[in-house]
Amino acid sequence: MNDPNTAHPQADPVITVTNLIKQFGRFAALRGVSASFDRRRLYAILGDNGAGKTTLLRILAGLVRPTRGTVSILGNADPREVCREFGYMAHPSLLYDEMSGMENLRYFARLYGMAEDSRCAASITAVGLDPELQRPVGQYSQGMRQRMSLARALLHDPKILLLDEPFSNVDIRSAREMVKLLAGMRAQGKTIFVVTHQASLLDGAADEFIWMETGLIVNRTADRKFMETA
């Protein structure tokens, strides 16, 4: 069997990580992860708490610098150089509670050099929310906040989506709608990484399930059930 922590050659890798190590003090969150990820695929990253999933995603987003190892995103070694090409959704909403969804997106659109409200409205509509909603985000339900957070990540039409627990606290119907939306975006050519504890939601949608344990990728397979029985 192939070692899942070696960068096996892919046809068209969008992201390659080599021997990625991240230490927080004496705790090693990542312990030498090597992998490459193809374009136009939906990857589900699974694992127990503390397995290193979020740290891996934050390194790919350029929010955390690896202690050792290299990252290459679209051929670039510095994620910040290609930040326009990815959308990042974290576990917290990354939204201002005192502003409405539209006000939030309007502000974030400016950061990407976009001035049109139509793009913000389209992003909100895409996640099944109403752009006209005047309520501040702080008064949204947790599920609505998650969807608005996804709308923020989609706002600038990125090529790569890095999503950390997008389905947490989202009701099952809304979560399935989000999966359908993600599958549609993958079909349009986006590469999507989803860190989740609700792997079953991605059955049939994810191209590959990646299992992490104690800072290492221990398994990569297209069939989650096979992974669970292995």
Partner: protein, 227 residues
């Protein structure tokens, strides 16, 4: 990509909107400054002549302490829901964020000063014997000196465990030369001694502002992306 000035304007507008809705910073600053005015006035019960000699120190130390509240609020807002990460993953330049925050804080502290100055005048029976118009450049340059360093050090102490304590610990020693200039200039103007001039202190303040604004702008990107 948007010009940095466009991003600065958008961030400033957003911050003013958030402050207008929450009134977190302005209410706490006003309450604190009001306490300083009233408590000091009852503690000293100064005569008009005596006031002229101590007012510079009282006013500026009061405003400095009150500004700390606003400075802490500036970044606390960005930490809630980790919104700062959304800025960090965007292509927006770090300096645009810093300038917006500094200008925002300048506006908040200036509003506080505009509201509190009449109270200071009333409680301490103040009347400038020197050229009163010179108080305007002292106020503008002095306030900028406080907020530019305060905004920078508040960002630096953002990830420390006791950031409310860290900010004054970092800020006060660095602000000392500016504070001395502000106090001396204010005293000279209020006392109206013809043998001294406030111009030296005003030039010193302006130089301080240029040096520290440049330094903060040069270093802010490192502070923003620090882990």
């Amino acid at each position: 990509m948007s010009a940095p000035s466009g991003i600065t304007r958008a961030t400033l507008t957003k911050d003013i909107r958030l402050e207008w809705r929450s009134k977190d910073a302005i209410n706490s600053m006003l309450f604190f400054a009001l306490l300083v005015v009233v408590v000091f006035s009852f503690s000293f019960d100064p005569e008009a002549e005596e006031s002229r000699h101590i007012a510079g120190g009282l006013v500026w130390v009061g405003f400095l302490f009150a500004a700390i509240v606003a400075l802490n609020q500036t970044w606390a807002r960005e930490l809630r829901n980790q919104v700062l990460d959304a800025y960090r993953v965007s292509p927006a330049p770090a300096n645009a964020l810093f300038l917006a925050k500094a200008v925002g804080n300048f506006i908040f502290v200036a509003v506080l000063e505009a509201l509190m100055t009449p109270l200071f005048i009333m409680f301490y029976r103040l009347r400038a014997l020197g050229p009163a118009w010179q108080l305007l450049p002292v106020a503008i340059l002095g306030t900028w000196a406080i907020v530019v360093n305060g905004t920078f050090f508040a960002a630096m102490s953002l990830r420390t465990r006791s950031r409310e304590i860290m900010l004054p610990l970092l800020l006060f020693p660095v602000t000392l030369p500016a504070l001395i200039s502000m106090v001396e200039a204010t005293n000279v103007i209020l006392v109206g001694d013809p043998s001294t001039s406030a111009k030296f202190w005003i030039v010193l303040l302006a130089t301080y502002d240029v040096v520290f604004t440049t330094g903060c702008l040069a270093l802010f990107e490192t502070v923003l992306h620090a882990e």
